[in-house]
Amino acid sequence: MSHTEKKIANADQIRSLEEMFDAKIARDGKIEPKDWMPEKYRKTHIRQISQHAHSEIVGMLPEANWISRAPSLRRKVALLAKVQDEAGHGLYLYSACETLGISREELYEQLHSGKAKYSSIFNYPTLTWADMGAIGWLVDGAAIINQVPLCSTSFGPYARAMVRVCKEESFHQRQGYEIMMTLCNGTQEQKDMAQDALNRWWWPALMMLGPTDEQSTHTEQSMIWKLKRKTNDELRQQFIDQTVPQADIIGLNIPDSELKYNNETGHYDFGEIDWEEFWQVVKGHGMCNKERISARKKAWDNGEWVRDAAVAYAEKQAESQEAKQAV
């Protein structure tokens, strides 16, 4: 076979592999790390799963900010456990990502250099105790809406991680709502604190569902790979429809004067989102972008000698084990 003939044969082979691959996904089969996959599939998944993992661990920071000041022992323990859950989510997701042939070090490097993104919501500051309620209720709430469809995504390790994660996120969401409810049943000062938190977190939570469908890129391919099953606007509507009645129950007002139930559509109409603010924060100019990344970098850099020591110790142990066996 000539050189050109070989190339054609290879291209044919890849085409048939791709057809099998697409067909497997179409019939709801799972792609596993050892399976053949198109390079674009691998890259897209590394990008999305790592972005998700980074969001989990950067997301620990705004809530960790209140652990030392939690107002009761019960709340302190619950918050600590919640932040620990987020660390666990980060861990499963990094592991899922590593199966695609990238190391945790490389992934961290991408986060620290700003090459990889994480959810912009975590660049907003946590200013009062009520923010712990608002984050659980709204941020974990929006995360669930984003993530439940991923439980049946095509990449096996990601889908399985999402099943575990979603269970815990819905627990977080109830816990957050319960914090808000307690505040709303409390003194006027507590109610005001809850309302103030809702005012600050509502719009950023809506932005978590992503840019509008007109502005959103690469949605079509993501639909085929089941990384996306509904559009951003559909997810946002679902979040609003679900959350507004919950606010009503506890007597909080959604900070949107145009919010109104539409009898014809059966959905809430809502006001214009400030997309300028969205892009400002995405591009790195939110209130806490710099602090979050520098906190992560600091933890990683200060931990270097610890990780090195663990490696050196393990090597010494392995050596002395070998020496023993030799005798």
């Binding site: 107002p71 323990v77 600590l80 105790w129 307690t182 049943n185 200060n302 000698w305």
Partner: protein, 251 residues
């Protein structure tokens, strides 16, 4: 033995768990790896869980109508009876591990005795906590080995932490008047009896880690009598912030 003796005795044990739990939880999200973050958070959760059991018991014993949160958040600095060791700052990971190990060995020995208390509440809390603390001791001991016998840098940093924290170990075995009364009644533990086993265990691990055992003439004390280091005020101003700013509210 009065209820007051008993309450003060419990403070002496529970405040250690409270303040160390508070200190460790400051690290959540900032550790050297996700795995150590998760493990240290577990330890903080255990310690705070134990704290709650003790403080709930204090609330029961108290003549006033109080809750665990009043005990945790509404005392003045002088009323906290934790040892100085647990309030020492998270200077670096070596300090965190050495502080933890120095405390864990003591805590383990204490609970083993407290399990034999004539008081059923102490028996139950000690039994449950002992399982948790055995794990803490293994975690901090394993890390001490890695750090002590890892790289030159880790060895030097760990030796520094050992040298600095060693002076706080002696106070673990001090007995207040209340401690003595409660121990004599068969409810509490005479900490001074734990001392020799403690130093045997700690010194043997330090040797295994190839770390020097500090030679110290003067030890630090005060926490058990409510006289704390300068760190304590800041720990409490964080911890009590909500209760002080918004008094008498439910959260």
């Amino acid at each position: 033995m009065t209820n007051e003796n008993l309450i003060h005795y419990i403070h002496g044990i529970a405040d250690n768990s409270m303040i160390l739990g508070q200190r460790i939880s400051e690290l959540c999200g900032h550790g050297p790896t996700l795995e150590t973050d998760i493990a240290l958070t577990n330890i903080a959760l255990d310690l705070l869980g134990q704290t709650r059991s003790y403080y709930q018991y204090v609330a029961e014993l108290s003549p006033k109508d109080i809750t665990e949160d009043d005990v945790a958040f509404l005392r003045k600095e002088r009323e906290y009876k934790n040892v100085l060791l647990v309030e020492q700052p998270n200077t670096d990971f070596a300090y965190v591990i050495v502080r933890q190990y120095f405390f864990d060995v003591f805590h383990y020995l204490l609970l083993k005795e407290l399990e034999k208390s004539k008081n059923v509440n102490f028996q139950a809390i000690a039994k449950k906590s002992l399982k948790e603390v055995s794990y803490h001791k293994r975690f901090s001991g394993d890390w001490l080995k890695r750090l002590g016998d890892g790289t030159d840098e880790s060895k030097q940093k760990t030796q520094q932490a050992v040298n600095d924290l060693w002076v706080f170990t002696d106070e673990l075995f001090h007995m207040t008047k209340d401690d003595q009364v409660v121990a004599d009644a068969g409810f509490g533990v005479d900490n001074s009896t734990l001392k020799s086993e403690y130093y045997t265990m700690v010194k043997s691990l330090l040797k295994e880690c190839k770390l020097q055992i500090p030679e110290v003439k003067y030890f630090q004390k005060g926490g058990k009598k409510g006289i704390h280091s300068e760190h304590m005020g800041y720990i409490l101003s964080d911890m009590q912030f909500m209760q002080r700013t918004y008094p008498d509210m439910k959260w």
